[in-house]
């Protein structure tokens, strides 16, 4: 029997906002309906549900919807499901769905990521916030020193890039500036980016944790993003242009934000090319996780678009990563421009670009191959997506 392929057959997204009144379960259903519509599928054809990180009971706003309740309220007859945080970063949920359809266990699987971190802050009684008074697990090695946020942890490695490789703020700022330009052309980003970020404004922004300033950190948002993964032999049921998951990779060496020498993006980046004939030069656009602006630099280096320690020079001036540049980056705005969708937004935008469906922000040249990534620090997952 020929090897079965996995395709992304539909994408959908709810309204994206800050402190949205709409319940996160309803945002999720909104995104599911849009994705089903896009794919031309109906709920009775869905037989799998995959998510990252699953319902997060200890910090509900981070992930307020689980696979169980989606199966329940949508009446899905699920053959396989998974919602787990112990995966190599957000997009690994799509990788697991690809595995399930390749194995023939599922035909069409919903993958989703719902975030309600802004709405949750406005309603801490219902959406339990993170506790800071007592810590255990991996945060006990950082939080007691008021290295509270992943911004502080990422800043340590970004500062090393400044010291060792000469990264400047003008160079780093190109990630957020590029994101804001693209976000202004993305209707789903209207609540997040209202004006273009200039270099002057970036340079005068207040610092969070050096060298990361306010604009280098993504912003809590409320939204749901859905990706439908279908088996190659079920595509006759799909109406949209299918996008093949040509390769996937992931990495967790040690789950630690301070013991690792290099972020996991370097290993996952190298490994993405192991099971494909595609090379970095074949890639038409990249959608790189930018929860913090330093992370796309690690992906550029890790995937081999430039040498280690050269990522900031690659993006210098912003022309190379612009929509009409040689490697358009985060064409929908990324998380810095379009909100903290937590990984899934990058797959959504890659598919939209590869279908030529991005409207005013569509990149030129009939793009056929894209990379979407997720993760930061010790965890990373990447997808190579292709339009056949």
């Amino acid at each position: 029997m020929a090897k079965r392929e996995a395709y992304i057959s539909g994408v959908g997204q709810s309204e994206v906002g800050v402190r949205l009144p709409r319940h996160p379960l309803l945002l999720t259903v909104d995104a599911v309906k849009e994705a089903l519509d896009d794919a031309g599928l109906t709920l009775d054809q869905i037989d799998g549900v995959f998510s990252f990180p699953g319902k997060s009971h200890g910090y509900l706003a981070f992930s307020p919807v689980g696979t169980d309740e989606l199966i329940e309220v949508l009446g899905i007859k699920s053959k396989w499901q998974m919602g787990a945080i112990e995966q190599p970063a957000q997009l690994s949920a799509i990788g697991m769905a690809a595995w399930a359809v390749k194995e023939g266990i599922c035909r069409h699987a919903i993958c989703f990521r719902t975030v309600y971190e802004a709405g949750g802050m406005a309603n801490p009684e219902e959406y339990m916030p993170l506790r800071h008074d007592t810590v255990s697990g991996f945060t006990q090695w950082t939080a007691p020193f008021w290295a509270t946020s992943a911004a502080c942890w990422t800043a340590q490695y970004a500062a090393r890039h400044v010291h060792k490789y000469g990264m400047t703020r003008e160079q780093l700022g190109q990630i957020a500036i590029n994101g804001s330009k693209n976000a202004l052309l993305n209707p789903r980003a209207r609540a997040i980016t209202k004006e273009e970020l200039t270099l002057d404004k970036y340079m005068s922004a207040r610092m969070i944790s050096t060298p990361l300033c306010l604009y280098d950190c993504d912003r809590f948002s409320d939204a749901s993003t859905v990706i439908i993964v279908s088996a190659g032999d079920a595509l006759d049921e799909v109406k949209a242009t299918p996008i093949r998951i040509a390769a996937a990779s992931g990495s967790v060496d040690r789950y630690s934000w301070d013991q690792v020498e290099w972020f996991a993006a370097y290993d996952a980046g190298r490994d993405l090319w192991k099971n494909t004939d595609y090379k970095p030069k074949d890639v038409d656009t990249v959608q790189f996780y930018d929860g913090f602006a330093f992370l796309p630099i690690t992906w550029l280096e890790g995937l081999g678009f430039c040498e280690r320690g050269e990522g900031h020079r690659f993006i210098e001036g912003g022309t190379r990563i612009a929509r009409d540049g040689e490697l358009p980056l985060n064409t929908g705005g990324g998380q810095l421009g379009a909100g903290r969708l937590h990984g899934f937004g990058f797959a959504h935008e890659a598919v939209t670009q590869l279908r030529g469906a991005a409207g005013p922000r569509q990149i030129p040249g009939d793009p056929k191959v894209a990379v979407a990534t997720s993760g930061g620090g010790p965890m990373a997952a990447a997808l190579l997506l292709a339009r056949d």
Binding site: H132, F145, T148, Q156
Partner: protein, 134 residues
């Protein structure tokens, strides 16, 4: 007045690290079989899986591997700015501690600065902070 530091929940694996400062000791878990260190501390050696591990008082000196000046008050009343550093410990290859550099101005801190441990006690926890060694 800054708020109290987040308090680690003590257990069998981490107790020696967080309480060693009572005796002025920076305890890092070491394997009595292969001699290598395991940090964060575990009930077994992460290098050879031996269960013959025990906390060992290390020199308590090191160098600043990398650092960031933090300006964001992550809790109400937290005084900023302050330095968050990753310190590589002398004699403990491959082990880093995230910590604060204290007793100097934030702009006096640099890469590769030599530092030594100084403990801040609160509620039975001895937080290993570092200060410049000279």
């Amino acid at each position: 007045m800054s708020p109290p530091r987040p308090k680690p929940k003590l257990d069998q694996e981490n107790r020696a690290f967080w309480t060693g400062g009572a005796e002025g000791k920076l305890n890092i878990t070491r394997c009595n079989d292969c001699g290598q260190y395991t940090h964060p501390p575990r009930i077994l050696c992460r290098h050879c899986q031996s269960e013959n591990v025990a906390p060992e008082a290390v020199a308590g000196t090191g160098e600043i591997d990398t650092f960031s000046i933090n300006h964001q008050p992550w809790a109400p009343g937290l005084e900023v700015p302050y330095v968050i550093a990753r310190v590589r410990l002398d004699g403990v290859p491959g082990v880093y501690l995230t910590t604060n550099i204290v007793n100097c101005a934030v702009d006096e801190v640099n890469f590769d600065d030599k530092v030594r441990v100084t403990f801040e006690e609160r509620d039975g926890i001895f937080y290993p902070l570092f200060e410049k060694a000279n």
